[in-house]
C-alpha cells in the first residue's frame, strides 16, 4: 500500500512545507500520493505532480475545502484512508489542526511532529520543548504522522509528472464555517521557508522599533522577520512572527537573534539553524550559548551599523 501526504498550499501555490514533509513520507514507503484539497487549486496539484517520488496526485476541489477547515478535510482524508498505510502532513497550522481529527476517526494514536524516520514504524520526536528526544514505535496498523518540516530537506522536482486524479467526496459535516481572516501582508519570505531570519525580542520595546531597526536589516538581507514570545505577548510583533516551541519552528541558513535572551521555548524553535548570530547587551544571556557568533552590544547602535555594513557589501 501507499503513503498519503496532505499538501500545504494557499490555493495558488504549493508551500515548501509540502516538499519537506514529502522527504519524510518517502522514508516510509516508495509510493507517495499527494492530496491537494482546496478550491480552484489545480495549479497546486500540477506543482505537486512534478515532485520527485510522487506517484499520484489526488485533487479534491470544492467550497468546503477552500480554507482547509478541519471538519470537512478530516472527513475527506478518512474517506480515502482505507488505501493507505500511512497518512502524513506537515506540522503547519492546517496539519496540526486536521490530522489528530483524522487519527481519532481511524482509532490511531498520532505521532506528532517527527524529526526523524528511524524505520517505517519508528520515529524520533521532541518532547519538553526540545529538551529531550523520544524514540517511539507505533503499534497501530495505520500510521498518522505530522512532520516538523525544519528537520527535513525539501524534495526537488523529479522526472515525468505523476497523474492527477479527482478525489471523490464532499462529506462536509456542515458544523463549521469560515468567517474571515487577517493574514499578514508582506513581500518578505515566509518564516518557515526563509533562508535568512532576523528576530527581535522584548528588548525591541515597541512595534515601531521593529519597523525602524529590524525591518531595514531584513530588507538588506532578503530576510523574514521573526519575534520571541515575549515580544509577541507584549504586542510588539504579530502572532504569526513568533518563533519557538509553540510558534514556528525554523531552520534557516542564518538566524539573527536581536535582543532575545534565549528562553528554552525560543531555542526550541531555532536551534537547528545553520548559523546563529546573537546580538544582546547582556553578555550572560543564554542565547550566546547556542550562537556561532555573539555580539555584546546595544541593539539600537548595532542594527543601524549592521544595515550600513551590509550596504557596503552591495546589499
Amino acid at each position: 500500500m501507499a503513503i498519503l501526504l496532505l499538501a500545504e498550499h494557499d490555493n495558488k501555490a504549493l508551500k515548501d512545507s509540502t516538499h519537506k514533509a514529502l522527504t519524510a513520507a518517502k522514508a516510509l514507503g516508495s509510493d507517495v500520493h499527494v492530496l491537494v484539497a482546496g478550491s480552484g487549486c489545480r495549479p497546486v496539484a500540477e506543482a505537486a505532480a512534478k515532485l520527485d517520488g510522487v506517484t499520484k496526485v489526488l485533487l479534491a476541489e470544492g467550497g468546503p475545502f477552500e480554507h482547509m477547515l478541519a471538519e470537512p478535510l478530516a472527513a475527506l482524508i478518512v474517506s480515502l484512508a482505507a488505501s493507505y498505510d500511512a497518512i502524513v502532513a506537515p506540522a503547519t497550522s492546517v496539519g496540526k489542526n486536521c490530522l489528530p481529527r483524522v487519527a481519532a476517526l481511524l482509532d490511531v494514536m498520532q505521532v506528532s511532529e517527527i524529526v526523524k524516520v528511524v524505520s517505517p514504524d519508528t520515529f524520533e520526536r521532541l518532547i519538553y520543548a526540545g529538551n529531550a528526544v523520544q524514540t517511539v514505535r507505533s503499534r497501530d496498523a495505520k500510521k498518522v504522522i505530522t512532520v516538523r518540516t525544519a528537520a527535513f530537506q525539501a524534495t526537488p522536482e523529479g522526472g515525468s509528472p505523476a497523474p492527477i486524479e479527482a478525489a471523490a467526496g464532499n462529506n462536509d459535516p456542515g458544523i463549521s464555517s469560515f468567517v474571515g481572516e487577517e493574514l499578514s501582508q508582506s513581500d518578505r519570505p515566509e518564516l518557515t521557508s526563509a533562508k535568512v531570519i532576523i528576530s527581535g525580542g522584548r528588548a525591541m520595546q515597541s512595534r515601531e522599533n521593529f519597523t525602524k531597526y529590524i525591518e531595514p536589516v531584513a530588507d538588506k538581507l532578503g530576510a523574514a522577520v521573526g519575534a520571541s514570545r515575549a515580544a509577541v505577548d507584549a504586542g510588539y510583533a504579530p502572532n504569526d512572527w513568533q518563533v519557538g516551541q509553540t510558534g514556528k519552528v525554523v531552520a534557516p541558513q542564518l538566524y539573527i537573534a536581536v535582543g532575545i535572551s534565549g528562553a528554552i521555548q525560543h531555542l526550541a524553535g531555532m536551534k537547528d539553524s545553520k548559523v546563529i548570530v546573537a546580538i544582546n547587551k547582556d553578555e550572560e544571556a543564554p542565547i550566546f550559548q547556542v550562537a556561532d557568533y555573539g555580539l555584546v552590544a546595544d541593539l539600537y547602535q548595532a542594527l543601524p551599523e549592521l544595515e550600513q555594513e551590509l550596504g557596503k557589501l552591495g546589499r
Binding site: S93, R101, A103, A104, A129, A132, V136, G180, T246
Partner: protein
C-alpha cells in the same frame, strides 16, 4: 451552558528537565508539578464566560494519578465549580484521554469543552482535536478569541499566516493559544473555598476505555547540543565573519 475544562498535571514550566541516565524517560521524582499553562488559560476562559453570563457551571477534569486532584483543586480555586478525577497511571496517551473525555461529555452534556492546545510535557497537540472527532463536534483550535453567539461559537484562531475566524455550531471543542487571556491567580479565600468543592473520582473502566499505550517509547535521550561559538568585537567583524568564514552572506 455547562463548560468542561480538562486540565493536565505536568512538570512546572520553569523546571529544567533532566533525561534519565538509562534513557528510560525524564526524571519526574521530586520535581515540582503544576497545571499545564495552556490549561490555565482554558480555565480562565471558562471563568470569564461564566462571569459574562454565558456559562452556568464549570467542571474541571483531570486524568492521571491521585496527585492530579491537586491540579483540579487549582482550577477550583481559580473559579471552577466542581471536579472529576479519572485515576490512571501517568502517561496516558492523547487518544485514550480523548476517549475518556468523550465518556465524561456523554455523561455531563456540556455545551463547550475548552482545553489547552498542547501539554508542555509530551507536546503532542492532539487531545482537543481527537475529542472533537470522537464527539462529531466542530473544533476551534489555537484560539486567541472566543465569542459565544447564541448556539454558535465564534473562534479566532492563530494560524501560520495570521488570524482566522471560524463559526462553529455548538456544542464545540475549543483549544487555547497563548494570547487568549492572562490567567488569574487564585486568592487565598478562594483557595480555602476550593477545599470544600466536590471532586468525583472515577476509573477509566467507568467509561469503557482501554488506556494501554499504542506508542512504545523505545528510548528517551538528550538532544544534540550546539557548541557555543565566538564573540565578535564589532559589527564590521561580524559581517566579515558571516561573509568569509560562515559563507552565509
Amino acid at each position: 451552558m455547562k463548560v468542561l475544562v480538562p486540565v493536565k498535571r505536568v512538570v512546572d514550566k520553569d523546571i529544567k528537565i533532566r533525561v534519565k541516565a538509562d534513557s528510560s524517560g525524564v526524571e519526574l521524582a521530586n520535581v515540582k508539578m503544576s497545571m499545564n499553562p495552556f490549561d490555565e488559560i482554558a480555565v480562565e476562559e471558562a471563568i470569564r464566560l461564566k462571569e459574562a453570563g454565558k456559562a452556568t457551571e464549570i467542571v474541571a477534569v483531570s486524568i492521571g494519578p491521585q496527585q492530579a486532584s491537586e491540579t483540579i483543586r487549582t482550577a477550583l480555586a481559580m473559579g471552577a465549580d466542581r471536579g472529576i478525577l479519572v485515576k490512571t497511571e501517568p502517561g496516558v496517551e492523547p487518544l485514550a484521554v480523548a476517549k475518556i473525555l468523550k465518556g465524561i461529555v456523554d455523561a455531563e452534556q456540556p455545551g463547550l469543552v475548552i482545553l489547552g492546545k498542547q501539554a508542555i510535557d509530551d507536546d503532542s497537540n492532539q487531545t482537543g482535536q481527537m475529542l472533537a472527532a470522537l464527539l462529531g463536534w466542530p473544533q476551534g483550535t489555537f484560539a486567541s478569541k472566543v465569542v459565544v453567539e447564541g448556539s454558535d461559537i465564534l473562534v479566532t484562531r492563530e494560524v501560520d499566516g495570521g488570524l482566522q475566524t471560524v463559526r462553529l455550531k455548538g456544542p464545540a471543542v475549543v483549544t487555547t493559544d497563548l494570547r487568549l487571556n492572562e490567567p488569574r491567580y487564585a486568592s487565598l479565600p478562594n483557595i480555602m473555598k476550593a477545599k470544600k468543592k466536590p471532586i468525583d473520582e472515577k476509573a477509566p473502566d467507568a467509561y469503557g476505555v482501554d488506556v494501554k499505550p499504542r506508542l512504545e517509547i523505545v528510548k528517551t535521550s538528550e538532544p544534540p547540543t550546539r557548541k557555543s561559538g565566538v564573540k565578535v568585537g564589532s559589527v564590521a567583524e561580524l559581517v566579515a565573519k558571516l561573509k568569509n568564514e560562515a559563507g552565509v552572506l
